[in-house]
């Protein structure tokens, strides 16, 4: 019984970095219609930057390093958007998709060139290193911090998208690019901004998981987070941030339950869920069905 709370918090905490990665992915998909594989690279570079910039175990140093990781990756993201995605936009989504994959490989390689292949580890910040007991359930302090941070980011994104003029423009572009152009919205600038936000979030997510995981050359590490993030945005509906939030949290908790109940099956839950989802509700949780009515098959 007491376990339930632990499982819940652990699950939510696992869902947070995936939500952060996914929210950037889904925003970028909405605006650019690209499944940005390079996000895995952004994520990894964020983690590496944190390992290089963090000093000591104070909270300030940790979150300072998280912020630096986010900003550093944001610069990488802006450069990528200008150099890679903008020229490819006209060539269509498949080519952009492959361009993103190429960028992903290049970023992985870059990470190895800069940081080498030795795994790096980071300690939890001192203030968050322990756990406490609520109603008999042991809860990790870092997990709680993650959940809080996830909430802050979700609210921040919601405010950004619904209350600011930038958010309005982003929504306009993802709704109908041509119409947005006709309305005088500078679509190119919106795309770059969204890319910057997405990259920043990926960098932050990467930095946040650094204490939880050992950071190494990364294909496995980045796919461990990127694939669930892809699944989350599909389940949540491509382009939908609230969908990504709900899906990431639900899947995090599900995975945590399965890990406790049937450890052999852990790791599969995401895949199972996406399979079921695509079977029964291909447009995702919050996606609207824009598919043409009945295809020939």
């Amino acid at each position: 019984m007491n376990d339930l709370l632990t499982i819940l918090v652990t699950g939510l905490a696992q869902g947070v970095p995936i939500f952060i990665v996914a929210s950037g992915l889904t925003l970028i998909y909405g605006v650019l219609h690209v499944l940005n594989f390079a996000h895995g690279g952004f994520f990894l570079i964020g983690a590496f930057i944190l390992t290089s910039t963090i000093q000591g175990g104070s909270l300030g140093s940790f979150f300072g390093a998280v912020l630096i990781a986010g900003l550093g990756v944001m610069i990488v993201g802006i450069v990528s958007e200008l150099l890679v995605f903008r020229p490819l936009y006209k060539a269509g989504p498949t080519v952009s998709f492959l361009g993103a994959f190429a960028l992903f490989l290049a970023l992985l390689g870059l990470a190895i060139v800069v940081w080498g292949t030795n795994p790096r580890t980071v300690r939890y910040p001192d203030a968050l290193d322990g756990s406490f007991t609520v109603a008999g359930a042991r809860i990790g302090e870092y997990d709680v911090a993650m959940v809080v941070l996830g909430g802050v980011i979700a609210v921040g994104l919601w405010l950004l998208l619904s209350k600011t003029s930038l958010g309005m423009r982003v929504r306009a572009v993802s709704h109908d690019r041509t119409m947005a152009l006709a309305l005088g919205i500078r679509v190119g600038r919106v795309s770059t901004t969204v890319f910057a936000i997405g990259a920043f979030l990926a960098g932050v997510a990467g930095a946040l998981i650094a204490p939880v995981s050992s950071i190494d050359e990364g294909l496995a590490l980045s796919t461990d987070y990127m694939l669930p993030a892809f699944i989350v945005i599909i389940v949540g509906g491509l382009g939908s941030v609230p969908g990504a939030l709900v899906a990431a949290m639900a899947l995090g908790v599900l995975e945590s339950v399965i890990f406790r109940a049937a450890p052999d099956l852990s790791g599969f839950s995401y895949y199972l869920v996406v399979a079921l989802f695509l079977m029964f509700r291909p447009q995702g949780l919050f996606g609207s069905s824009s598919r043409s009515i009945q295809m020939a098959r």
Partner: protein
């Protein structure tokens, strides 16, 4: 090849493909030996893998990010068969591997093709990822250890004992498989795949069963990818979960893209370029990802049609393209329609 292709019988039966492979099989050992010949052997297995992938990606227009699933499935099938019966002929193993992958792929595609475009690509990736996880979770798949000793697989009565024998064996198998795929590309089914890629709505309105064509393409692609995986397993002697990773799925698309999928020979060139550049680069820099990534970026941005589009581009630069028929660009018609399809995904 072009001269040969003028001869109707040769070109119709694809004899020039077989002749080409026979020539390569004989010439390479004169120029290379040892580890270099082995790199060529690996490259040839990748030639088959790339051509098989192109059936799906190039001909039928379905983007799969999970080709490693079938590549690995071929390798694991061979390893399991060898474990069960070391006396079994390698050729039988290859056929079984192809059948297993083909059937799994067809079943998977029947379900996965309910989606399209990006979602479809992700589903294929999920398949590969699930198989990769399974290798760690299922006891008899041996986890990280994988399987060893596949050098011992019997070919025509005994194991292959030298790089040269492995070379001849690989070239023969790849030659026959690529020849079969060449015949497929010239068959009505191959043409139907192109039709489905170009415009599934038009194809359906002509009476082509779009879904059936896509599922068949998926199965064929998987079956030949499995053969390529089994050949690699045999050549390296080892099967490990690494063969199922996302990196493999990505690299094979890179090979297709480097070469270009508009011509049959594109993926062949792409695979050779990829394997050799990886080998040379990892000798120099230790790390080849960055190079492959950058190479792909350059190609995607500067030469989206791949190497096979190079001659046409150069020719086009010399003399401005002569207008065929009426010179007006296609207005709202098929060109844009097909872009939309890529975006909406091909159902």
């Amino acid at each position: 090849m072009t001269v040969l292709e003028r001869l109707p019988l040769v070109s119709r039966s694809g004899l020039h493909v077989l002749i080409g492979f026979a020539a390569v099989a004989m010439v390479m050992p004169l120029l290379f030996s040892g580890s270099q010949l082995f790199t060529w052997t690996t490259a040839l297995a990748w030639v088959l893998f790339a051509t098989a992938t192109s059936v799906l990606f190039g001909w039928t227009g379905l983007l799969s990010f999970g080709q490693a699933a079938f590549f690995g499935m071929g390798a694991y099938t061979m390893a399991l068969l060898y474990e069960r019966d070391p006396e079994m002929s390698g050729f039988v193993m290859l056929v079984v591997a192809a059948l297993v992958a083909g059937v799994v792929a067809a079943l998977f595609a029947l379900f996965a093709l309910r989606t399209s475009g990006a979602e479809f690509a992700i589903l294929t990736l999920v398949l590969a990822q699930v198989l990769w996880l399974l290798t760690y979770r299922v006891d008899w798949l041996n986890g990280e250890e994988g399987f060893h000793g596949l050098f011992g697989v019997k070919i025509l009565g005994g194991p292959l004992t030298s790089d040269l024998q492995l070379w001849y064996y690989t070239t023969a198998v790849v030659g026959v498989c690529v020849w079969l795929l060449w015949l497929l590309s010239r068959s009505t089914a191959g043409q139907a795949m192109r039709a489905v890629r170009d415009d599934p709505w038009r194809a359906a309105a002509l009476g082509i069963r779009v879904r059936r064509v896509q599922v068949s393409a998926f199965a064929v692609s998987a079956a030949f990818s499995a053969v390529a995986g089994a050949l690699i397993a045999q050549g390296q002697g080892v099967v490990s979960p690494g063969m199922l990773t996302f990196a493999i799925s990505g690299e094979i698309l890179v090979a297709c893209l480097i070469g270009g999928t508009s011509k049959f020979i594109g993926p062949v060139i792409g695979a050779v370029v990829l394997i050799w550049s990886q080998t040379l680069m990892s000798n120099i820099f230790h790390e080849s990802n960055i190079f492959v990534g950058l190479l792909l970026l350059v190609i995607v941005i500067a030469l989206p049609g791949g190497f096979v589009s190079l001659p046409g581009r150069l020719a086009g630069r010399r003399r401005r393209r002569p207008a065929k028929g009426e010179s007006a660009p296609p207005p709202s018609g098929a060109a844009t329609a097909s872009d939309d399809l890529v975006e909406e995904g091909v159902r």
